[in-house]
Symmetry: C2
Subunit: 213 residues, 2 copies
């Protein structure tokens, strides 16, 4: 009988689980960087590994394939961004709905500006990479829409926006405003960008004018 191997031996101060988790984090951070610099399509597994200071062996220990890393990176970036948005919304609950949305949009665009590298990639470039990635993206857009609607109309606490078509239009507009802003090098101040996006949100105010048919 060979003695059972030590199941949880420490290495450089950490257990196996801790080291695995840290490597996973390293890959995600490196991926955000590399995707931002070269775009997801041009980013190879090796380039991410190099940026992470790890080798391919650990990559395939951490993720089944490169798409899984993309999804994990997207989640990380989106969660971080939404955290800031939610915090801004919570911090401004003394103001009326639209001022709260303005604060949230400001936090959103500031978050994008703070980390320019991943912004473009995770806003649009990943569309069509895979069905699962598309679903992730759609979910994050829906979440943003729900957040905005609930801030404006706290009464109804719904899972989905009341007019999904319109809400997706608004959220899509918010994103394209960001893209235009980023593409021109962040020249306009954040306050102006947020104000522009807020104008889009104001369409939620009015019922659609009835068409005289």
């Amino acid at each position: 009988m060979t003695p059972a191997p030590a199941p949880d031996r420490r290495y450089k101060g950490s257990t196996a689980d801790e080291r695995r988790a840290r490597r996973r984090e390293q890959f995600i951070m490196a991926a955000v960087e590399v995707y931002g610099e070269r775009g997801y399509r041009q980013a190879t597994v090796k380039s991410v590994c190099d940026a992470a200071g790890l080798t391919e062996r650990y990559f395939y220990e951490s993720f089944p394939n490169s798409e899984a890393l993309l999804i994990a990176s997207f989640r990380a970036v989106t969660d971080h961004l939404f955290e800031g948005v939610a915090r801004a919304g919570a911090a401004s609950d003394h103001a009326d709905g639209y001022e709260r949305v303005r604060a949230m949009l400001t936090a959103y665009y500031e978050g994008l500006k703070r980390s320019p590298a991943p912004a473009r990639v995770f806003l649009v470039e990943i569309s069509g990479v895979s069905a699962e990635m598309d679903r992730e993206l759609q979910n994050s857009l829906r979440d943003l829409g729900v957040l905005i609607e609930q801030t404006l109309y706290p009464g109804k606490a719904a899972e989905r926006p009341s007019d999904e078509l319109l809400m997706m239009g608004i959220v899509g507009g918010i994103i394209h405003i960001a893209l235009q802003w980023i593409g021109q090098g962040y020249v306009r101040p954040v306050s102006e960008v947020a104000a522009t996006a807020l104008r889009l949100c104001r369409v939620l105010e009015h019922e659609p004018r009835l068409r005289i048919a």
Copy 2:
């Protein structure tokens, strides 16, 4: 001296130029189909050739590489779509600005519905494929924005919209409305989709509310 080869010999009733042009068209039509079915990323040169009923040899006679075909396909789809939009705008010049825009949006969404395959691909999936492709996409969005603004405010005939940030937001919204609509299988009637998009366009009506700072 060898006799000069016949420079413009006919084959199956067409000259060399005509045949080349027809093959090019075949590739473009096939590409729109294949991109729509499998997505651009998953579409190989061979798959497009098979769909076109031609071989790789003619592909590389017609296009320097597969990105060139993508751009040509995008132009074809976009031109066709915009033609319908412009026609709808011209046909309704008796109505007021917003009704004309409604007619144009209706034509836009009807065009997307008429050919579902390419719609999704050419709306967003191609983002980030290459710098040149991105420029094409940006240009088409700007053109749509200019067209809308000029319909609403025929006075100023400008190359670029007066508030590019807002205009990109509106156009981005129009596109995301289409994406949501398509993603749900075109269940809502075109009139409703166009009406929703028109609500977005109405933000151009109002000056932004001044912020009390």
